[in-house]
């Protein structure tokens, strides 16, 4: 392959990864924007999402790469998988918030963050102890349609991932900008006290942020399975940290920023894997995280949420 083809191919790969990170980053940004909490449980809500979607696909009798669906059955199965996964993860997010984080909302210091690490550990080990440590083959019912651009290939699966991610992000964006509760969310992010006094039900808004963020993480988990053809209990940590980096890069609290940040991180991962070495990818991404936090803590596009400290 020529350098140009390699670049093109890695851009295609990076955009797919980026779509996944963006969905995951949105959850960090929504919650951080309102609660100023780095929610570590989000890492493994994503991981659980990939398992839920695995179970749904298996429920349809799909396993491995043998069964290929087309037309309506494909649309139906994918729709069911996305909806069930997102609903389950969204519910999980609400439960986590309600049971473990709400009692600590007015506690200063790192208590809430430590709790979210604990929740993350619980989710991680529940899957490890029930499903097992070996990675699971993820069904891929998509027809193997490929297009060649030079020597780079673009397949149907990638297009589907882009389309789903774009659709979800567009829905979220419109929801946050236009809907009543979306406006309430933005108001709460600016100033929870003032929002409460203006009649915003802050508890409901926070619940909504957890629901939306977790549902998107679930969708991200399904995309992970489709893209890599496997899932495992360990996927949450690395993907979660990269997505968090994406959120920080785009300016944490900033919804469009998280989307752009996700895509950037996906591209950086793909390019560094190609042109440097996969082994150093995480070092590069963490270095970006540290550099952004130290020199430009507001991210590339600035924080929407003001500093409430």
């Amino acid at each position: 392959m020529t350098v140009f083809d390699l670049l093109l191919q890695q851009t295609i790969n990076g955009l797919s990864l980026g779509a996944m990170y963006a969905l995951l980053a949105l959850g960090f940004t929504l919650v951080y924007g309102i609660l100023e909490l780095i929610n570590f449980s989000h890492f493994n809500v994503f991981m659980i999402g990939s398992f839920i979607s695995l179970f749904v696909l298996q429920g349809f009798g799909l396993s491995g790469q043998e069964v290929i669906l087309t037309g309506l059955p494909l649309v139906g199965v994918l729709l069911a998988a996305f909806l069930v996964t997102m609903a389950f993860c969204g519910g999980l997010g609400i439960v986590i918030e309600r049971v473990t984080l709400r009692p600590l909302r007015n506690v200063k210091g790192p208590a809430a963050m430590i709790t979210s690490i604990g929740v993350s550990y619980i989710l991680f080990n529940v899957i490890l102890l029930t499903v097992g440590a070996d990675s699971k083959n993820f069904p891929n019912p998509l027809p193997a349609i490929r297009w060649h651009i030079g020597e780079a290939t673009l397949d149907f699966r990638v297009l589907l991932i882009w389309a789903v991610a774009l659709l979800l992000m567009a829905i979220l964006y419109v929801f946050v900008q236009r809907s009543r509760i979306g406006k309430a969310m933005r108001a709460t992010a600016q100033d929870p006290e003032a929002a409460r006094m203006m009649g915003v039900e802050v508890d409901k808004v926070i619940m909504m942020a957890f629901f939306l963020g977790s549902a998107l993480a679930g969708a991200g988990g399904l995309i992970f399975g489709l893209y890599y053809n496997f899932t495992s209990f360990i996927i949450g940590f690395t993907a979660g940290l990269r997505a968090f980096t994406a959120a920080v890069l785009g300016g944490i609290g900033n919804v469009p920023g998280a989307m752009v940040g996700g895509v950037l991180i996906g591209l950086i991962e793909a390019m560094s894997g190609q042109f440097i070495a996969t082994a150093w990818t995480d070092v590069i991404i963490f270095s970006i995280l540290v550099l952004v936090l130290v020199f430009k803590p507001a991210g590339l596009f600035g924080r929407i949420a003001p500093n409430k400290s």
Partner: protein, 682 residues
């Protein structure tokens, strides 16, 4: 359930309550030491002693992380990185990983016994084999880890708590990745092999657990000693001040950069030392031993035992390690026996050991929700005050019996103590202060008044270095102080209080006053640990000085010195803030609405105390809304409005100034006042 446990504890403790506390503690300590010393003989089992040695190693790690998280309040999620750095330092310098060619350069090292000369495997030259002694490895690794602690700590200094956590997590991940990929140095994922066991007078520890156990116990004892000595010193108080309120810590003279880095360095040094011990014991090191799960495990230990509590984190580490290596095993076997009894196949197969991380998760969540202070809380419950002690003796007329040696002494010569010229401050488009000029003569009381939002507190913030001025100059006794960091400004002799109270809420009244003296005390890290006579004396004098300052307020604070500030009344907290500022032996005292929230009697009392302080020759700059207080105290009044000085002069002159009336009451009000005047004439 908590109440029952507390009741059970109190029944157990009651018979011992008569024994004086100091003696009780000493007895407990002797008992604990004795048990620790005979434990291997009691166990008489190498595997069990080995588990204890590992538990002790984790206790040292927990003690190290506790310095960073518990004392200084910096949440570090990558602590295992320092453990790794220490481990690999010793590992590389004793294993056969690096074998540079022999040359005369190595002769002196050979002489010192740090390297050996070995025939090369290929060819006929000879190569170097590193043979660093374990006992030299401990301080070397501690030093190197401390260096990396400062290196990693430096970029995180300006970050807020939650960002700091994520950056340390990033460093915690980078270190194992570097270890895995730098194969020449570390043998990569395969791990270092053939790490040398410690030797003592030519005798090698080998693989017998007992000597390792004693080394580990000695390390725990040493680190407990260091932790406690640091905690109860100027150093520990500075860390806790940062933990409680960074801005107040800076304003009270604590150099935050220095002390945060110091916490990182000392915590890292503990981790590095433990790393040496750990690899010497295992005689191998792999990158997997130092990942995120290890950092979280250490965090779980300190959360479980009690964040900031020295004995708590040791207990937490021991319980969790032994849970993992002993009790879960036993529990599983009991369940198997139960399964055989009731003929249940599932119970017979169950193995609880792999669920340890699940248990960690539940511990983190459970402790945060139900017992945030941990098993042994860092702060002990306080005795309630007696009725007599609570009875406040109202002291009118200030004080005349107190000398307060070294406070004040400024003679009213008319020279400027504080001279502010042309100070301008802008926040974005808003001009908070516009070319403000203000002069405080030595020995006088100057008051600043003005409507809300007129820039009074911003003025204080500029003087004390919290806010940067765009232009102008601030001279203090002739010396330019604009642009100095907050803690240096305090050291020059400018101490302040805050409008909205910035005390250190979870520290005692005495500790607050001692932190106020931070800049006047000299105790460094080494002195804090070794506590030579000079340090003891300094500490004693610091406490005496604090008591002298408290006596300004009659008996309001004196009986409460051991109480936590958070539980005191609003008026008392105002007094403590003033006492804390005075404890720093300022040459000028800046009071930001000192009587806010006080009732008229308390207001009068405080005003008279301020007057008495001024009588000792202490220069005072005061922001105050209560005009009667201003009139009683101030020699000169400055009126600020919209960031500009609109009037200044004697209190009476200012009161009659038309512009001042307009600023306070508005144009129409003044017109109606004028109207009223004419109406009266008519």
């Amino acid at each position: 359930m908590n109440a029952t446990a507390a009741a059970a504890v109190s029944v157990l403790v009651r018979p011992f309550a008569r024994i004086p506390e100091v003696q009780r503690r000493r007895t407990l300590l002797v008992l604990l030491t004795a048990i620790a010393l005979v434990m291997p003989i009691l166990l008489d089992n190498d595997a069990n002693t080995d588990s204890l040695a590992n538990a002790a190693a984790y206790a040292t790690l927990a003690l190290g992380l506790n310095i960073v998280v518990g004392f200084a309040g910096l949440l570090d999620l990558g602590y295992a990185a320092f453990f790794a750095i220490g481990a690999y330092t010793y590992g590389i310098l004793t294993a056969f990983q690096l074998q540079p060619e022999w040359s005369s350069f190595w002769e002196p090292f050979h002489f010192l016994g740090l390297v050996a000369r070995m025939p090369a495997e290929t060819g006929d030259g000879s190569v170097v084999h590193f043979t660093l002694s374990f006992w030299l490895g401990l301080p070397l690794a501690a030093g190197l880890a401390a260096f990396f602690g400062v290196l990693f700590g430096f970029p995180t200094l300006r970050l807020r708590g939650d960002y700091l956590a994520i950056v340390t997590l990033g460093f915690g991940e980078i270190v194992p990745i570097v270890v895995r990929n730098w194969s020449d140095l570390t043998n990569g994922a395969a791990g270092l092999n053939g790490v040398a066991a410690p030797r003592l007078f030519g005798w090698s520890f080998g693989v017998d657990a007992v000597p390792y156990y004693y080394v580990a116990i000695a390390m725990v004892a040493l680190l407990i000693f260091i932790s406690i000595r640091l905690r109860d010193s100027r150093i520990g108080r500075a860390w806790m001040a940062i933990r409680e309120d960074e801005i107040a810590a800076g304003a009270m003279g604590v150099d935050r950069t220095k002390f945060k880095l110091l916490a990182f360095a000392i915590g890292a040094a503990f981790g590095g030392m433990t790393g040496v011990f750990y690899v010497a014991k295992l005689q191998t090191a792999t990158p997997e031993m130092f990942g995120f799960p290890v950092s979280v495990m250490i965090l779980v230990m300190i959360v479980f035992g009690g964040i900031g509590s020295v004995w708590g984190v040791v207990l937490g580490a021991f319980i969790l390690q032994l849970l993992q290596s002993w009790w879960l095993q036993d529990l599983s076997e009991w369940l198997h026996a139960l399964g055989r009894l009731v003929d249940n196949a599932w119970l017979q197969r169950i193995d609880l050991v792999p669920s340890i991380e699940l248990i960690f998760g539940f511990i983190l969540v459970g402790m945060m929700l139900f017992r945030r202070q941990g098993l042994i809380p860092a702060t002990r419950p306080q005795a309630a005050l007696s009725i007599e002690q609570q009875h406040a003796e109202i002291r009118r007329g200030g004080f005349s019996d107190l000398k307060l040696q070294g406070l004040g002494g400024d003679v009213r010569t008319g020279e400027a103590a504080l001279d502010i010229q042309d100070i301008t401050v802008k926040f974005g488009g808003l001009t908070a202060l516009n070319k403000v000029e203000l002069m405080v003569p030595k020995g006088s009381v100057v008051a600043v008044i003005g409507p809300n939002g007129s820039g009074k507190s911003t003025l204080f913030n500029v003087i004390t270095g919290l806010v940067e001025a765009e232009e102008g100059s601030i001279r203090f006794h002739g010396e330019e102080i604009k642009g100095l960091p907050d803690y240096q400004i305090l050291a020059k002799g400018i101490a302040r209080t805050f409008q909205n109270l910035r005390l250190f809420p979870n520290l005692t009244v005495m500790e607050n006053a001692l932190i106020g003296q931070h800049a006047r005390l000299k105790t460094g890290t080494l002195a804090a640990i070794l506590r030579p006579p000079g340090t003891r004396e300094e500490e004693m004098r610091a406490r005496e000085w604090a008591m002298e300052i408290f006596s300004i307020f009659g008996n309001r604070l004196t009986p409460r010195t051991g109480q936590m500030v958070a539980g005191l009344s609003y008026a008392n907290r105002r007094r403590i803030e003033i006492a804390r500022a005075l404890a720093s032996r300022p040459r000028i005292l800046l009071l930001d609405e000192p009587t806010a929230g006080m009732n008229p009697a308390e207001t009068l009392e405080l005003a008279e105390q301020i007057k008495s302080l001024n009588g000792l020759g202490l220069t005072v700059l005061l922001i105050e809304h209560k005009l009667d207080v201003v009139t009683t105290l101030a020699d000169t009044v400055y009126v600020l409005d919209h960031g500009e000085v609109i009037a200044h002069g004697k209190p009476d002159e200012v009161r009659r100034n038309e512009e001042v009336l307009r600023a306070y009451l508005g144009r129409n009000a003044q017109a109606s006042l004028a109207g009223m005047g004419t109406a009266n004439v008519a």
